[in-house]
């Protein structure tokens, strides 16, 4: 039998810990409220819009990722590795930085409209539901592309050669099974990310039509102090997450064993112009807003005050700690978490970090001074939020390794750490590097819960940036934003390249 179940072990404990981390604070908020609150008619509209935009954003991101990943898989060109790293950058951009980058390109006075005007074309507006989806595709196309690229890389070179020799349709026999395996996971991840979108949806949505559940949660917690309603909304997000997870499981095709000797693939090639066009279009879409972020931040970055640099150092510590914690959990769960890990690795995405943060605060503030909690809570929340990505990236790689070489390793008596060191780590090095880079960068850019706890002495870079913006210091904020992008991308690049050099 090709399908080989992964063993069950400490990953189950890790999964339980993650589930508790999401659900216990939610329970604490509900308990403090004395029960769940009532939704208003506006909340139902928000619920429908939230689901609709998340599904559409995920669908478009995945659909576009297929041609982009195929084109990148087939072609070798100078700077390809750097290009692949760079187009990953939008995913790790802090939300507000990305929104300003997108507006600089697609906005009313953006580069695109500046180009359309002289051509006599009517101006385009980014504001509206389509703007929300555009932004979500901008964020998530890189993630989907990278997940598919690693899927393509898992098809052994021998299989391409064999298919070619036998004159088999390669898409149907090699690519389609891989896509059926990987796409549902990518769709699920992106759907869940977009489910909790707040600032993007509101700013680019053009008004209250584009309200998401997360805004209702924010309003309930911040303005109305309606904890019951916040808990209800957060629970609704979790329920949607579980439903999406069940659906994704039904659609996904289990991977099959496909051991290879690591021969370089002889890849099928389509028309060159088509691949070039796809790569150029994806590059322009993903990199131009990034260029705008760099341009606008250059003036401010040279004159950043010392507080910003201290905040940057603090952010680096948070990011590295969150990466270590998250990777440890994800590796345990991906290898020995069983089916529980499937649920535990998706739920954190649907959880509102505002509710989680509030819950942690409610549970702990009588025991520990909130200031003492700021950095540990931020590290823990970031580690758990990033876990779903790490899990989805690591799980297929570890599964494939077990399927291909598990029996051999059994025969050789490789177990425990030796199995990690000699078999799993080398085989999954690429995905491990990619996952670590992603977590580090995400934790670096996340404003998240630190705002609930931090005092002036503990601010992270995203918080310092948001505070500068709130005090008219737009140039300093743009400079801090650029610094944040450089640090997040640098961290991502170091881990990611570290992993890829092995291949």
């Amino acid at each position: 039998m090709a399908h080989r179940a992964l063993p069950v072990g400490p990953g189950v404990a890790a999964s339980l810990a993650v589930l508790a981390f999401v659900l216990v604070p939610l329970g604490a908020v509900a308990l403090r409220a004395g029960g769940a609150g009532m939704p208003s008619p506006g909340d139902w509209a928000a619920f429908r819009f939230t689901l609709w935009q998340a599904a559409l954003s995920a669908l478009i991101s995945c659909a576009l990722a297929v041609p982009v990943a195929r084109a990148l898989m087939r072609r070798r060109f100078p700077g390809r590795a750097l290009f692949i790293s760079l187009i990953g950058a939008p995913f790790i951009l802090p939300v507000i930085v990305a929104v300003f980058g997108l507006v600089a390109i697609f906005g009313r006075n953006g580069w695109l409209n500046a180009a359309l005007g002289p051509l006599g074309l009517p101006p385009l507006s980014i504001y509206g539901a389509h703007g929300v989806i555009l932004a979500h595709v901008f964020f998530n196309l890189p993630l989907a592309t990278r997940m598919l690229l690693s899927g393509f890389a898992s098809i052994p070179g021998e299989h391409w050669r064999l298919a070619e020799a036998l004159n088999l349709p390669r898409f149907r026999f090699l690519e389609w099974p891989m896509l059926r395996d990987r796409l549902p996971g990518a769709f699920l991840l992106i759907f869940l990310i977009c489910l909790t979108s707040f600032a993007v949806a509101l700013t680019l949505g053009g008004g209250p039509r584009a309200t998401t559940l997360e805004l209702a949660i924010y309003q309930a917690l911040r303005f109305d102090y309606d904890l019951g309603k916040a808990a209800l909304m957060a629970a609704a997000q979790c329920a949607v997450c579980l439903a999406a997870l069940a659906l994704a499981r039904r659609v996904a095709l289990a991977p099959v064993a496909a051991p290879g000797l690591g021969l370089p693939p002889r890849l099928p090639s389509g028309p060159l112009w088509l691949d070039a066009l796809v790569i150029a279009a994806a590059g322009a879409f993903l990199l131009l807003p990034l260029a705008a972020v760099v341009t606008s931040g250059l003036a401010g970055i040279a004159e950043l005050p010392p507080t910003i640099w201290r905040a940057a150092l603090r952010s680096l510590i948070v990011a590295l700690s969150a990466t270590a914690l998250s990777m440890a959990l994800a590796l345990l769960m991906a290898r020995t978490g069983g089916r529980l890990a499937e649920v535990a690795s998706a739920l954190p995405l649907a959880a509102s970090s505002l509710v989680t943060g509030t819950g942690i605060f409610l549970i702990l503030f009588r025991l520990i001074r909130p200031e003492a909690l700021a950095l540990p809570a931020t590290i823990a929340v970031n580690a758990v939020i990033a876990l779903p990505f790490a899990y989805r990236i690591l799980r297929p790689a570890l599964q494939q390794a077990e399927m291909n070489y598990g029996r051999l390793a059994d025969q050789l008596g490789l177990a425990g750490l030796a199995r990690w060191r000699l078999m799993l780590a080398p085989l999954a090095r690429g995905p491990i590097g990619f996952a670590a880079g992603l977590i580090g960068a995400m934790a670096m850019g996340d404003l998240g819960v630190i705002a609930l706890f931090a005092s002036q002495e503990q601010q992270t870079l995203p918080l310092a940036m948001s505070r500068a913006m709130g005090a008219y210091r737009m140039e300093e904020a743009a400079g801090a934003g650029l610094l944040l992008v450089i640090m997040a991308f640098g961290l991502f690049w170091i881990f990611d390249r570290g992993g890829r050099d092995a291949n």
Binding site: G110, L202, G206, R369, G470, A471, M474
Partner: protein, 326 residues
């Protein structure tokens, strides 16, 4: 338990500063930044109080209040500084605040002040900040008839956004829904908070953003930039009055009283205009600096009482949401 931990952690510090009383003030983010009023006010107060003053910052005024509600009477805070009058009715309902005890304070604000729990420390008018190169509309109606594109904040997540909703409500009453419907095509987008809206304006994406009329002074004084101006509206302008209050649970009530009294003196009021970019409630000696004189004083100051603001909030937001959702 908490006290034990806290004591343990800060033992060294405590030993060094034997018997120095501590005053903890919760405020909003922009108050404590390096260029905000926090640092200089801390220095000025500590020079006279023989105490250690600490500011803790949490988001904006609304975040501040919800933080206090989470902590209840076990809060560390002695004073909350940074609510506005749209929030004080809810704050008073918590029962956590004690009277400030200052009878009829002498204040330079356009409205009488009688609130027994909260004392104002600065104020301003909400206003659209626009690009000086375009012809400024002089009312909401004129704005609605123009093709000017403005950015506003969401009243469900932002205090200026809520202020705008009250502004339209106070100026137009029953006609407010019609005004919002007419404004719909002038609203480029709605942002979660002030920073995003103001950023979109300064980046040149929008012609104007909802802010304060004192923003004009910031650009003039801090940046020497006269291209960004506040638009005076004929209907009058809704005010924002920012207040502070003493908590009943404070362990240093006298020190807290001293701070509230200090708040109305030059040591506090002096730095306010050019660090918090709002008007002082007591004019400091020497008045306002260069760049403030050119600000247009609105003919009518609009402001709901805290109770009225509380009672109208839900309906006013719903009016806004319905009109802009069509």
């Amino acid at each position: 338990m908490r006290t034990i931990l806290a004591t343990g952690l800060s033992f060294a510090a405590t030993a060094a500063m034997a018997q120095t009383p501590e005053l903890t003030i919760y405020t909003y983010d922009s108050f404590v930044t390096d260029y905000g009023p926090g640092p200089v006010i801390e220095e000025n107060f500590e020079a006279t109080c023989g105490c250690d003053l600490t500011f803790e910052a949490f988001g904006d005024g609304a975040a501040l209040l919800s933080r206090l509600r989470l902590e209840g009477d076990s809060t560390d805070a002695d004073i909350i500084l940074g609510l506005d009058t749209n929030l004080t009715a809810e704050a008073a309902d918590t029962g956590l605040f004690a009277p400030h005890g200052i009878e009829t304070p002498a204040l330079d604000i356009p409205i009488p002040w009688t609130d027994p729990l909260f004392l104002p420390y600065d104020w301003g008018y909400f206003a659209f900040m626009g690009d000086a190169s375009i012809e400024a509309p002089t009312s909401f109606r004129e704005l609605a008839d123009s093709d000017i594109q403005v950015v506003i904040e969401d009243p469900r997540s932002s205090t200026p956004g809520l202020g705008l909703v009250y502004w339209v409500e106070a100026a137009y009453g029953d006609e407010a829904p019609a005004i919002w419907e007419a404004l719909a095509d002038n609203i480029l987008t709605v942002t979660p908070g002030w920073s995003e809206a103001y950023g979109l304006f300064t980046e040149g994406e929008a012609d104007a953003a909802l802010s304060y009329n004192t923003s004009e002074a910031y650009h003039l004084v801090a940046e020497g930039d006269d291209t960004k101006v506040a638009w005076p509206f004929e209907e009058g302008h809704y005010m924002q009055v920012e207040v502070a209050g003493k908590l009943a649970s404070t362990d240093v009530p006298e020190l807290a009283d001293d701070f509230l009294a200090f708040m109305l003196t030059d040591g506090f009021q002096g730095p306010i205009p050019e660090t918090n970019w709002m008007f002082p409630v007591v004019m400091p000696e020497g008045g306002l600096g260069e760049g403030w004189q050119s600000l247009v004083e609105p003919e009518t100051a609009l402001l709901y009482s805290p109770e009225e603001a509380q009672a109208r909030r839900e309906e006013a937001i719903e009016t806004w949401r319905t009109a802009l959702s069509q």
